[in-house]
């Protein structure tokens, strides 16, 4: 594996006015071809090689959750409830003019995507939750609150089986410029705080009651060694979504698309093409 991680990143940004024009939602976009929506996890949008690869065959639309957009932190204060957030995302996708795109959601993004699909059964054509949050079992606690409480240097251990892989190192390396480093760290912590509005103290907003409404083909992908949201939850999602199947990825923690990029990408592409 090369030590260099080259990421092309988004090609353009579209700003969608939402929530009675109170919030500017920034959507990062790359590629061409059929539309594909990506919903990011708790630390905010990080454009990785997985999104680069998807952009080779699709137009990838990645909205930033209000509050997590650099330079616009207080938009979060206009979103009071999880229902507000679901409605804002529906509005953004509608205004982008996307016709039943495929959607992929990671962790918190997976939780949000599942609830969008439950609220609006026709909004997506297929969904792919990657180690999604959203359900809770007392005997298998989700460790998101522990991640928030732990020391920053322990964060990679919750997300990766092997935090030393280059993709993980690249993600956790802040900018070298001291001024930018301060802003970057503050922005990352703030983004975690914005998402915590909907996942603190547990990532449970009642999805278990609504998840039966999801009626589109669903591929649930889970890292076998996920410490943050244990793999036991893969079955919990599978048995509640009628048209779904599970793929467990070995040698992967919470982010299979970074830790096992090729395997994850192959499964995703085959599912989309099927």
């Amino acid at each position: 594996m090369s030590a260099q991680v080259v990421i092309k990143g988004p090609e353009r940004t579209e700003v969608v006015k939402a929530w009675n024009d109170q919030i500017d939602v920034r959507v990062k976009i790359a590629g061409s071809g059929p539309a594909l929506v990506y919903l990011h996890p708790a630390a905010g949008l990080y454009w990785d090689q997985f999104l680069d690869k998807l952009a080779e065959t699709h137009t990838v639309y990645a909205p930033e959750m209000p509050g997590t957009t650099f330079g616009d932190p207080y938009a979060i204060h206009k979103v009071d409830t999880f229902l507000d957030l679901v409605l804002i995302y529906e509005e953004v996708l509608r205004k982008l003019g996307l016709k039943r795109p495929v959607a992929i959601g990671q962790s918190f993004g997976g939780m949000l995507m599942c609830d969008l699909a439950a609220h609006f059964p026709d909004i997506f054509s297929k969904i792919i939750p990657l180690d999604p949050a959203g359900l809770w079992r007392d005997d298998v606690p989700v460790l998101t609150n522990q991640l928030y409480l732990d020391k920053p240097e322990n964060l990679p251990g919750y997300l990766f089986l092997d935090p030393s892989i280059p993709a993980a190192q690249a993600m956790f390396t802040p900018p070298a410029d001291p001024e930018m480093m301060v802003k970057h760290i503050a922005h990352t912590v703030w983004s975690l705080g914005c998402v915590a509005k909907f996942i603190w103290p547990f990532p449970d907003q009642g999805l278990a009651k609504r998840i039966h409404r999801i009626n589109v083909p669903t591929l649930i992908i889970w890292g076998k060694q996920d410490k943050l949201i244990p793999v036991a939850y893969a079955e919990e999602f599978q048995k509640r979504i009628a048209n779904s199947r599970v793929e467990i990825i070995d040698q992967s923690g919470h982010i299979p698309q970074m830790e096992q990029l090729d395997k994850t990408l192959a499964l995703v592409k085959a599912f989309i093409a099927s």
């Binding site: 932190p73 979060i76 204060h77 609150n145 975690l192």
Partner: protein
Amino acid sequence: MKVLAFEQLAYRHFASDYASKYDSVTTMPYHALVDRKLMHQDHMHFLDEMMHAARSGFDGVATTEHEQASYDILPNPNLQMSALAYATQSEGLNVGLACVGRSLAKTREPLRIAAEYAVLDQISAGRLVAGFPIGLSYDVNRNNGIPPIETRARFYENLELIKKAWRSEEVFAWNGKYNKYAEVNVWPRPFQDKPPVWAPAIGNPVTLAGIIDNDDNFLYLSWFGPKLTGKRIFDRYWDMAEERGKDRNPYRLSFVQAVFVGETDAEAHREYGPYIEQGYRTGLGAIPMQSLGLPGYVDIKGLEFIIKDPGDFGIVPKMRTIEYKELVDNQCAIVGGPETVAQQLIEIIKNFRIGHLVIMVHIGPMPHELVMKNIDMLSKHILPKLKGIWEDENWENRWWPSGAR
């Protein structure tokens, strides 16, 4: 100048290696660590010591609120304050009763706090100081499940609701973001027309602006080491007060300071020193740093400020293994014979323009007899030297309860 006695209700019997094994908040195992008879004894000693201070010439007594904490076992300080309100009233001791908790960010029952404070003010015939802290992140967010980013908005809504519930002549509806009540009509109302409001805080500029604009009293807690943090926080406060059109009335400010007095400097260090070191290590020092500011608790501008310059936290990061000498050098505790202590206190009071000095008379495992001695030494040797400060400037103290002396 007003001087109050203050204690936290710590369990006083932990082993000396406590801080290497346990945190002081949220996770420490109760049954493995606590003897029920000693816990009962600590509760009684706490009240005995506060009463002793009230009888010994202090102008007031003060308590804080912390839940799921081993260093301050006061999940609702109004319970203790109620006992003190009745006992002092019965004895004709008209001391101020400063409840410097209850945390308004964490409560889901702000009207219950409005009513409880009103009850205290009634029992004490108008001696309540109403303390309204935001609350520490571990308590608000970790112990009580409030999403950190809602902390401040909840605080401000609850504060506004309580103040309105106290003053409103009419039954009113409150349709807030976090509280919905069709008919608010709190009984009883406070004895005082307007109980003074003290806002305990650690000097965050955003918080200070709110306190100043509300014309409330700023209570600064000095556990972080006033030598390191005092000047920067108080300079910031007075600069901001001036910018926002407020006068330099010293009674706007209250200051918590741990003080321990012996017959001589040497005796004081020998007698109190080990308990002070242990108290800091096992109390404040054993709170995990991350639990003081969960993501979202601190505003993003505040975050950038702290990342660039963590000075507001003083010596907190190394408190878990702090040495006694460093605590004294930084004035986290002022310890010594009467002359040494009086000189240091007068300097702090005058330099920072402090109108209410809230003296922490006990810490950590300090035993009852020594706490009683400290209260005696303070009342005999220190209080007389502090009493007249600020009288020559003729400021009105609008932040002291009307029923207290």
